[in-house]
Amino acid sequence: MHRIGVFVCHCGTNIAGTVDVKAVAEALGKEPGVVSSVEYQYMCSEAGQTLIKDAIKNLKLTGVVICSCSPRMHETTFRRTAAAAGINPYMVEIANIREQCSWIHKDKATATEKAIILGRTAIAKVTLNTPLTSMESPVTKRALVIGGGIAGIQTALDIAEAGFEVDIVEKNSTIGGKMTQIDKTFPTLDCAACILTPKMVDCAQNEKINIYSYSEVESVSGFVGNFTAKIKKKARYVDAAKCTGCGVCTEKCPMKNVPNEFNLGMNNRRAIYIPFAQAVPKVATIDADYCNMLKKGKCGVCAKVCTAGAIDYKQQDEYVEREYGAIVAATGYNPISLENYDEFAYSQSKDVITSLEFERLTNAAGPTSGQLLRPSDGQHPHTIVFVQCVGSRDTSGCGKPYCSKICCMYTAKHAMLTRDKYPDTDVYVFYIDVRTPGKNFDEFYRRAVEEYGVHYIKGMVGKVSPRADGKLMVQASDLIANEQLHIEADLVVLAAAIEPDKSARSVATMLTASMDTNDFFTEAHPKLRPVESPTAGVFLSGVCQGPKDIPETVAQASACAAKVIGLLAKDKLTCNPCVAHSNENLCNGCSACEKVCPYGAITYSDKEFRMPDRTVAIRRVALVNPAVCQGCGACTVACPSGAMDLFGFSNKQIMAEVDAICK
């Protein structure tokens, strides 16, 4: 039998001013199960709490109802009070008679009547409360960072700085990501490599950081604090421990015509390669698609010239399984393919290039050693047309509906640098809007216009036609002059939209992290929890969450690291005990709950059941992982058989509340 104590708070005159607290205490004292009903000036005060504690002990109360302010205010306070007096903290219910009663009503009689009903509702609920215990789960003190671009590097460095171990998994043979391909960075124009490579070296040298380059995450299981990831180390046919990165093999390899992806195919590399001089780890990799030895069994030049004996043609993919407490997605981006934009003649002319290709053309380590030359004939271009929003803000289905955010600034940078280095070139930029929110960004764009004489034209290029003499005829609109322009250009640079890396989708599936329609990871809250995924223990860093530039990426990466450190610093995680649970006798294994769960907390397993006729039946039943469940209750409603219920807000409890209100 329940022994419930009711405590009505005056809250000075806040409640007592409009609610007749004596009458409320009296009325509630008559409710079934209530053994004591008292009122007091301030329940949350030291004296008030002592009153509650004494009552629990002396009257052997099993449940407590406090009629006071909002549970959002003092629920934890009173739960602690109850726990201190020796009963389960979840046997406390609060009736909100301040914010939702005394403060909104003026008439004393009405307010008192409502307070009684609210109190009765809380009593009805508390009689159905069950003691709940917060579960604890251990935390593996190691983090996994998926993606080794600037976002992943910064997150890993910050986590390592706090003393935790970090593994970076990078699918390419070196870390560094897109930033390694960029020449200069806006708005300060410092060289990308000069600021990035020291960080890459820091990563390699940091004892706490372990880099799995040329590797991919195969699968992830577990939950916050206790993830297990299977990592595939792809065969690079070079023993990374032995390779000294001298590069002799990359000079001697006879396969010379392999498109160099680091320079976006604008020049060639060998079948064995190191992407660039500052690669980390500086280890050669054999491209199995082009290596004669691997394809035909003939050649072996690299093995002959390697003094370290690092070449191993028989190397196989290797799998590593490790445990992690937190996982960071930093999968990055790629420019979109321009196949839907035939009007810009990207596939017809070598002199129509993307902005990332332009970066390589102006980079000292690029295919032209930093000379801005037309890819077709190696001549200096004299008229360059930049086209913005190629594939961005496109709802027609050809491109991406969002703004890629970085294009306005890098185009201003390209235009400015071109005018600075080659003052004899005419530079046109066609824009729809110039979006430059950011510190010193608009000043930078204005400098391109005012000091460097870049022609910014409000309008869009409609068509680029390559002419037989090698010129590119650009037909475009100038909306302000209300004219159509025909420009003879030597080079056309397209600011292609950016999209999340293709691998992000499979990573999201593995992590049960949600994505939006554009394949960007969704954050737990768009404003207040921007670096966490809704899945506990999974964090987001960099462009995989949404388009952003380098400063923003680094800021987010550090924020993400702070969240990871906050998680790893805990020895144990206390979980909210108000989670879903399934009655396996009722569960029919339909998977309805699994589909609505936003956290992937529900799994299915085959279980043996003893049947009435003494046979054993195997049935598929749902199982909720209480460490992952956040207690939203979506599954409880989706469940057709009523097997799923939520602790703390059970079907019966809410029904009882409804009944009490409608009595």
């Binding site: 729809i432 309008g459 869009m460 409609g462 068509k463 037909q475 609109s477 909306l479 209300n482 159509q484």
Partner: protein
């Protein structure tokens, strides 16, 4: 019916989707012949400034090549707006520019039949 409403109904175009990039006018192969350009058609219909469009020769200068509709990144389809203005004009009484009886006079053996069909569509009810 309000002219703006009429044109929106005939064309089935949501002019509010236009983000004023000007790609339609950048694409238009007959731009210089037109007094009002494709982007202006969309903008002027949106603001309800229809009269000048209806009185302009531009509606007959549009080649109906649909390049603007094809390349519009927002799916606005300016060519349909031009077509709708044209239709609004020829639906007015006495606005027939070509009658079947006039055809023999203008018949030229070198003109492809498609051009005739197209001309009927453009110039008559």
């Amino acid at each position: 019916m309000d002219k703006r409403e009429e044109i929106l109904r005939i064309s089935g175009v949501d002019v509010r989707k236009c983000m004023r990039c000007g790609k339609c006018s950048g694409t238009c192969p007959n731009y210089d012949e037109m007094e009002y350009h494709p982007h202006q058609f969309v903008y002027m219909v949106e603001t309800g400034n229809i009269e000048p469009l209806m009185n302009s020769k531009s509606i007959y200068k549009c080649l109906s090549c649909f390049a603007c509709a094809d390349r519009c990144p927002r799916g606005v389809e300016p060519a349909k707006v031009v077509e709708a203005v044209r239709l609004a004009v020829i639906r007015q009484k006495g606005q027939n520019h070509l009658k079947a009886s006039q055809v023999p006079d203008v018949l030229d053996e070198d003109i492809p039949q498609q051009a005739f069909v197209s001309a009927f569509r453009k110039y008559s009810k």
